[in-house]
């Protein structure tokens, strides 16, 4: 099986064990794999490959885990119709990395079971207000500093907000500092900022 790891532009060093394929004007990085039962381990390995490529290329689009093909021909057939869009998307992320921000907090009163519709709505009002406030005072300022953003529309409690920001590589430290400073205005919540990642969240969808 041949596993597809990423699309790249301007790759300087190809790590050993991987191959570079040029398909309709776009470069794809792939490698041989055997089936791996431990999906968690496979995910970490995949992430490690992608992150090592990120530092070696001008532009990189990570491919999701599981894009495996029987041979190079099959891979090329799958990639060909997407090549044009992928080239454009590579331009969109050139020189940028992804920074993740997650806000976690438990804002509900414990043991609160809504008796009726009105109490259910009252119960839902507080988290809604908090989410709005976070979008306005934490997300919006960070969005202004980023080339693009992706916000998860809803999250499993106690995640209040989860977003990814496309940030130019040189601006990551300042961005993280800003995120932490903005987050410290919410002492009841915890804000974590992770990265720099390859632009996973910006590989698909509209900018």
């Amino acid at each position: 099986m041949i596993r597809l790891y990423a699309f790249v532009d301007g790759l300087r060093v190809l790590p050993s064990g991987l191959r570079l394929m040029r398909i309709h004007g776009v470069d794809a990085v792939a490698g041989e794999v055997r089936n791996c039962d431990d999906r968690l381990q496979a995910a970490v390995v995949h992430g490690r490959v992608v992150e090592s490529l990120r530092e070696q290329a001008d532009a990189l689009l990570p491919v999701r885990l599981g894009e495996d093909f029987v041979d190079e021909a099959a891979l090329a057939i799958a990639v060909a119709p997407r090549a044009h869009g992928l080239r454009a998307r590579l331009d969109d992320v050139r020189g940028c990395v992804e920074v993740g921000v997650r806000v976690v907090g438990d804002v509900s009163s414990p043991g609160e079971e809504p008796r009726d519709g009105a109490s259910y709505m009252r119960m839902r009002l507080e988290p809604w207000r908090l989410r709005n406030a976070l979008e306005e005072s934490l997300h919006a300022p960070l969005e202004r500093r980023a080339r693009a953003t992706r916000v998860a529309p809803f999250g499993a409690a106690p995640v209040m907000l989860e977003a990814s920001y496309l940030v130019s590589a040189g601006a990551v430290e300042d961005f993280a500092g800003e995120a932490v400073e903005l987050g410290s205005a919410w002492p009841r919540l915890s804000v974590t900022c992770t990265g720099p990642w390859a632009p996973y969240s910006f590989a698909e969808g509209e900018a």
């Binding site: 992150e51 259910y120 839902r124 009002l125 932490v180 002492p187 919540l189 915890s190 974590t192």
Partner: protein, 118 residues
Amino acid sequence: MRDDPVLTKLLGSTGDLDGVARRAGGAVNAFPSRIGADPETVERGLAQLVLTLVELLRQLMERQALRRMDEGVLTDEEIERMGETFMKLAERMDELKAEFGLEDEDLNLQLGPLGSLL
């Protein structure tokens, strides 16, 4: 896996993170059982997609209702009726998720190209 440079990516944080880290540790331990146990069958993948979309719409509607409630433009009767509806919808969603063995996290993650809409 420890001391892995690909994992040393915490840029900064605020607040009490021990609880968050504990929860993350729990999520990490849950990964193999949740993902490995059930293969990506067509049916489960479809259920995941459909339920994610239903939850998305439910959240959208609930948020609209909460906004109007916050603005004070709803009558007590309307608040009660909407609350009942959303409560029932939420219960039904829990039942459907349980039926397909899906957790909240499973729904949140599958939006793919649709995730940038909100």
